[in-house]
């Protein structure tokens, strides 16, 4: 078992990466002075992995929407008890989440981390599903789905994705629908579990008040070696075009909200990281409070300070999203298009680029100030196929022309979607 020490050349922070004999990738960051521990045990399995097969399978298996999230809920039940009851004995605060391309089980604690880590590694490797427990969960998740459907931020985002993607499963709701989860049974859960919860497809990230030796000793004790069965997730072909350019929905909201998304060409590995960083700097330049567009829209009352941006990236999808509250979202969209055109025409000021880059660097340093952020940084980097400190290096090597090229080639009007949630009285 080889320990690789990964160090950030800029901040001097470091962590350890181990490829464990069981097949699991392990990242450990000892953080002296901190009291807490954050551990995440994750699998590269999210809502987009709806079609897959193993090396020896002849055919692909297609599963109902929302099954990765359903599985996350059910893994918390052991044969003899609920996992929360085990954490209650150590004091750890346990949780889990399912996103588009990963499921993570986590805990944070300040005492007894070794016992909590054993619980985490043990229950994630020990599935137990029955008809009764699956039936019981339908009601709970049904309520979760209704709750998120009442959330306008959720609706505006998924409406945008549905307008953006023809075929890619990123457009489906992470929790599925009340109808799709009704198709889930214990056998399907086992099928998905044994496909995706193979340690070769998983990663453990632990940060905070720990020692690497202690963490690795627990891993040696608890991890069951797995054979790499050659998992293959497939995604349907996705054209570069969008489905439709606008979508409106009425909901109980006090202020109308909008998402303006640009569908960009997907990338993977280090290329994805470089492209994401360029996209992040580009979107910061466009929404920066010192930009002329932002100032004009703010002063005339078209937007408020909630206006912002994010880069949304994963396997087979990549988009840049501008969001906020506005009674006139079409005007925000048009202004954004004009600003993109202006930048393409006039270029980016080197001074502004350097300032935004400096700001991005500051945010990265801040993330290293926090146990939870560090644990998430390590797991996210691994899932994206890069090293935890690569982003700092990519940022330091980035040129103004990289950002210009991203804006010119990716922020195109014909790949732009406007999604709006307006009040029911409009």
């Amino acid at each position: 078992m080889e320990k690789n020490i990964l160090t950030s050349p800029v901040t001097g922070d470091s962590c350890i990466h181990v490829k464990h004999k069981s097949g699991l990738d392990i990242y450990i960051c000892e953080m002296p002075g901190f009291s807490s521990v954050e551990a995440l045990f994750g699998t590269k399995y999210g809502s987009v992995n709806t079609m897959f097969r193993m090396r020896d399978d002849k055919d692909y298996t297609t599963v109902p929407e929302g099954i990765a999230h359903f599985l996350e809920h059910k893994l918390f039940e052991n044969e003899d008890c609920d996992v929360f009851e085990l954490y209650a004995k150590t004091g750890a605060c346990g949780n889990a989440f399912t996103s588009f391309d990963k499921t993570c089980y986590l805990f944070s604690c300040s005492k007894n981390y070794q016992e909590s880590l054993k619980i985490l590694l043990d229950f994630v490797q020990k599935p137990y599903f029955t008809k009764e427990s699956v039936d019981k969960e339908q009601g709970i998740i049904g309520q979760e789905i209704k709750m998120t459907n009442d959330n306008p931020e959720w609706r505006v985002f998924f409406n945008m994705l549905r307008c953006m993607y023809h075929n890619h499963p990123v457009k489906i709701d992470i929790a599925g629908t009340v109808e799709s989860i009704a198709e889930i049974d214990a056998d399907l859960l086992y099928k998905c579990y044994y496909t995706f919860y193979n340690l070769n497809n998983m990663v453990l990230s632990v940060a905070g008040n720990i020692t690497a030796d202690e963490v690795l000793a627990i891993c040696d004790e608890c991890l069951k070696p797995c054979e790499d069965k050659g998992l293959e997730s497939v995604f349907p072909d996705e054209p570069e075009t969008i489905v439709q350019s606008e979508i409106y929905e009425k909901q109980e909201v006090g202020t109308p909200i909008f998402h303006i998304g640009y569908k960009c060409r997907p990338a993977s590995g280090e290329e994805r990281l470089r492209k994401s960083m360029a996209a992040s700097v580009a979107s910061s330049l466009l929404t920066d409070a010192s930009s002329e567009m932002f100032r004009r829209l703010l002063i005339e009352g078209t937007i408020n300070s909630s206006f912002g941006s994010e880069v949304f990236v994963g396997d087979g999808f990549f988009s840049v999203i501008f969001s906020g509250e506005s009674a006139d979202p079409e005007k925000v969209r048009d202004s954004l298009c004009e600003e993109v055109d202006r930048i393409v025409r006039e270029g980016i000021s080197e001074k502004d680029f350097q300032r935004i880059r400096k700001s991005a660097y500051g945010l990265m340093v801040r993330d290293l100030n926090n146990v939870e952020s560090v644990a998430n940084l390590m797991i996210n980097a691994h899932m994206e196929g890069v090293s935890p400190y690569d982003a700092v290096n990519v940022l330091s090597e980035m040129k103004c022309s990289d950002v210009y090229e991203f804006i010119r080639s990716e922020l195109c009007r014909d790949r732009q979607v406007l999604s709006v949630i307006e009040g029911t009285d409009k």
């Binding site: 800029v10 901040t11 002296p32 002075g33 901190f34 009291s35 807490s36 609920d82 929360f84 009851e85 954490y87 209650a88 004995k89 605060c93 604690c109 300040s110 005492k111 969960e137 339908q138 009601g139 709970i140 998740i141 309520q143 209704k146 709750m147 009442d150 959330n151 306008p152 931020e153 905070g208 909901q251 109980e252 909201v253 006090g254 202020t255 909200i257 920066d288 409070a289 010192s290 930009s291 932002f294 100032r295 703010l298 002063i299 408020n304 300070s305 909630s306 509250e325 300032r355 400096k358 700001s359 660097y361 500051g362 945010l363 340093v365 801040r366 290293l368 100030n369 926090n370 029911t424």
Partner: protein, 421 residues
């Protein structure tokens, strides 16, 4: 970690927390004043406008340009409610000089910006700069409107409005939309001047190393003020109604929300916190295990204490058809505790959960600031570990007694259209 507090002027506390593990420095200044429906909106706008510009960086664009060139330093203002008290303030954080690759003195630059925002705001002829004020006002009006966008938060606010009717805590910390819309730039500036003159002020500076510059700057600026501070009451128990009041609103939503307000005359806050933890604050609490896990009625059902008002709120997102069933089960679980049905495991896990939360305080600058500020409001300066000892001395009997003091006061229901069927 070193923590110290000194009074640098009448009713102005300056707390310094030095912890070498941090890569950032932060400064938070809080104004503490009585929550009043007449002053809530002007106060909020007065403090809010401070982060839109200052006399040196005269537009939001210039201020933000400077902040981003200081490695993305953050500066913002806030308004919140704590019982009958309105807390407003300005907070800033930045990476320290050690991580600035061009050797820039970020600390001094940020302290100067904070100084200008607080003590040299962008004011001309007795009113805030029109552009900065307009941006802040639009933000506040939208914030008031957008409260409905978060259904769970909206239901909790409406429930507080009902539970504390006739008391300052009834009001939103932002004031009403009508009140906010009517405030002029001059009135907002007057409100700010009054706040800085009369409110209690608590400042927290949290950094990896000492920097006397922060205290000197604030001491010098505050010494020039004509301070006439007024006291605030941080805890006033809300009277319980003779008959439970139920209020409902109908909305075009899929899921109903219910908030049950309980009130208590108990002063045993440690026992009440343990009760609340066992009752509904963790995934092994009685509410989670029974209302969610056993009966599958909801995705969330939880409780929180409002110690400043002697209240406890239980909230749940639930189908219309299951509202009564959920209410019965919540009351049944309360009765279980009142009847002494608390297992040793439940008590131990509640204690472990509190221990875990308390031990983690100090891992982020905001947790330090939040903890010690709350203790100042409580009038009892204890460390997280001292608080843990207080919890450890709570017996099962005291928890049962605390549960016994809770009376259902009011219920708020956000109903879906199913209610019409």
């Amino acid at each position: 970690m070193n923590c110290s507090r000194k009074e640098i002027a009448a009713n102005v506390g300056f707390s310094t927390i030095i912890d070498p593990k941090f890569k950032t420095a932060s400064l938070t200044l809080r104004f503490i004043t009585k929550l009043d429906s007449r002053t809530a909106a002007p106060n909020s706008l007065g403090v809010g406008t401070l982060s839109a510009s200052n006399s040196r960086l005269t537009t939001l664009a210039r201020l933000n340009e400077r902040l981003s060139s200081l490695y993305g330093a953050a500066l913002s203002t806030f308004t919140r409610k704590r019982g009958d008290v309105q807390i407003l303030g300005l907070t800033a954080s930045w990476i320290t000089r050690r991580y600035a690759f061009d050797g820039e003195n970020v600390d001094s630059e940020m302290l100067a910006i904070i100084r200008d925002c607080l003590f040299a705001p962008n004011v001309k002829d007795g009113e805030f700069d029109a552009e900065s004020f307009a941006i802040t006002k639009k933000d506040l009006l939208d914030r008031i409107d957008s409260e409905l966008n978060n259904k769970r938060g909206y239901a909790l606010s409406r429930a507080a409005e009902i539970a504390f009717r006739g008391e300052p805590a009834e009001f939103s910390c932002y004031g009403t939309k009508e009140a906010a819309a009517a405030v002029t730039s001059a009135e907002a500036y007057e409100a700010y001047k009054e706040l800085i003159r009369t409110s209690r002020i608590e400042i927290f500076y949290i950094a990896p190393e000492e920097n006397p510059e922060a205290e000197e700057m604030l001491r010098s600026c505050i010494s020039e003020l004509d301070r006439q501070p007024q006291d605030c009451v941080f805890r006033s128990k809300s009277p319980v109604r003779e008959k439970v009041e139920e209020v409902s609103d109908k909305f075009d939503v899929l899921q109903c929300k219910m908030v049950m307000n309980f009130k208590s005359d108990s002063d045993d806050m440690a026992a009440m916190k343990l009760f609340s933890t066992i009752f509904g604050e963790t995934p092994v609490s009685k509410l989670f295990m029974n209302v969610r896990e056993k009966l599958s009625l909801c995705y969330y059902c939880a409780c929180r204490t409002v110690a400043s008002k002697g209240a406890l709120m239980v909230d749940i997102g639930v189908e219309y058809a299951n509202i009564d069933k959920a209410r019965d089960e919540i009351l049944r679980q309360l009765d279980e505790i009142r009847n002494g049905n608390i297992t040793d495991e439940e008590l131990q896990s509640a204690m472990m959960s509190l221990d875990n939360a308390l031990t983690q305080i100090g891992d982020t600058p905001s947790s330090y600031s939040g903890w010690y500020f709350e203790r100042l409001c409580d009038g009892k300066m204890v460390t997280p570990m001292e608080q843990l000892e207080i919890y450890k001395n709570v017996t099962k009997e005291r928890i049962i007694e605390a549960a016994g003091t809770l009376t259902l006061d009011s219920v708020y229901l956000m109903l879906s259209k199913e209610a019409d069927k």
